[in-house]
């Protein structure tokens, strides 16, 4: 693995607190994921690909923005791997790069309707924007 890849892998493991080597590849995380059908890479693949250092495809993937942060995979993993935390770490690595915000304040007015709770906007900003 190149040193750049190695550094990124270590950073993801450090900020997520996830140890991908605990995974026993049972697939329960992906089996329970409510966004499974919408994802190109699924929760178990995030764990495997971070473990092997194959992180570039994840950084570019739309899958980062499909995770609902519902903590189903965190709750149901029999090994306590907590895949959602790794998905979040990869998403942060993507949106922390300058110009990579997924959502800007200018995008918001077009997305609103009069019933939408503030919570939806705040949450989306927290997840899509740095």
């Amino acid at each position: 693995m190149s040193s750049n890849k190695k550094n990124l892998q270590e950073e993801l493991i450090r900020i997520s607190g996830v140890n991908p080597r605990k995974c026993m590849r049972c697939g329960k995380c992906s089996g329970t994921c409510p966004a499974y059908d919408e994802m190109e890479y699924h929760p178990h693949q995030f764990v495997y690909m971070v473990e092997t250092g194959d992180i570039e495809p994840l950084l570019e993937s739309e899958s980062l923005y499909k995770c609902l942060i519902c903590f189903a995979c965190v709750e149901r993993c029999p090994r306590g791997v907590e895949p959602a935390k790794l998905v979040e770490a990869v998403r942060l690595a993507a949106i922390r790069k300058q110009g990579n915000n997924r959502l800007t304040a200018n995008d918001i007015p077009a997305l609103l309707d009069e019933d939408m709770p503030q919570q939806a906007i705040v949450s989306a900003f927290r997840k899509y924007t740095k």
Binding site: P34, A35, Y65, I69, K85, P117, A120, S123, F125, K127
Partner: protein, 263 residues
């Protein structure tokens, strides 16, 4: 019984009734909710990354203020509860994170001392559902009510510790206490689609449809939730039965709904 109370941004705006009924019912049940002064938004969702510190400080300020007033903290919104509780847990269990947080703070150190109750836990653990039952003046008369937990009240259970995350009963027990028939259905702890509604409304529709169809197939006449975003998502996705807040149902049963509506 006096508690610090954190309503959060949505309860001051699109979900005012969740807040108004929560206060009114607490008053009837003998709990005094004192709103935290100058609070800020909790952030909506908890960022699990350990190096995210600034985004969690507004929650820390809420927790510190409750400690300063020597009171436990009560929340109502599922999302606020999840964020504040996860922040508190991170401070309790991650010394490095706690150190960084405290270096931002001007006053005393905070080490996760504040006890946090969700409004449902206040009803169950402090007031007691038997006491709630005694105060009912307008029973639900066997109305078929489906409890919708969603994600944030229950997960991750290692932190939330409210109920069994796969087979919860706290809302069903409340429904029974106020005279309703609790409808138990498979999707009650599945996700509504959450904030993804902004970007992928079709995904949110799919998830919400799964939830309300599951409840309706089980015979529900009404769905009850503690989360403004769950309510919004279910309604936007075309739920054919009413979706109401836990506090609205409770206010109705306690006979204070009209008083609260006048305020």
């Amino acid at each position: 019984m006096k508690f610090s109370y954190f309503p959060g941004c949505t309860l001051k705006n699109k979900a005012k009734i969740l807040d108004v009924y929560a206060r009114k019912c607490a008053e009837v049940l003998g709990a005094e909710l004192e709103e935290i002064e100058n609070w800020q938004c909790c952030g909506g969702v908890f960022t699990t990354a350990k190096d995210e510190v600034a985004t969690k400080l507004s929650s820390v300020r809420i927790l510190k203020e409750a400690l300063r007033k020597e009171t436990d903290l009560v929340t109502v919104c599922s999302a606020c509860h999840n964020v504040v509780k996860q922040t508190n847990y991170a401070i309790q269990t991650d010394k490095e994170f706690a150190g960084k947080v405290n270096r931002y703070m001007a006053e005393d150190e905070y080490n996760g001392e504040t006890k946090i109750y969700h409004y449902l836990e206040l009803l169950r653990d402090v007031i007691g559902f038997d006491k709630v039952k005694e105060k009912v003046v307008n029973s639900l008369n066997g109305k078929k009510v489906a409890a919708y937990y969603g994600c944030l009240l229950l997960r991750p259970n290692s932190v939330m510790r409210m109920d069994d995350p796969e087979n919860p009963s706290i809302i069903e027990d409340l429904i029974r206490a106020i005279g309703g028939e609790a409808i138990v259905y498979p999707a009650r702890n599945e996700c509504c689609g959450g904030y993804v509604r902004l970007e992928s409304p079709e995904l949110a529709n799919k998830k919400s449809n799964n939830v309300f169809n599951s409840a309706m197939n089980a015979g529900a006449e009404v769905i009850v939730t503690a989360c403004p975003l769950c309510k919004y998502n279910l309604e936007k996705s075309g739920c054919e039965i009413p979706v109401v807040y836990i506090t609205e149902l409770l206010a109705d049963a306690l006979g204070v709904k009209e008083d609260a509506d006048e305020q």
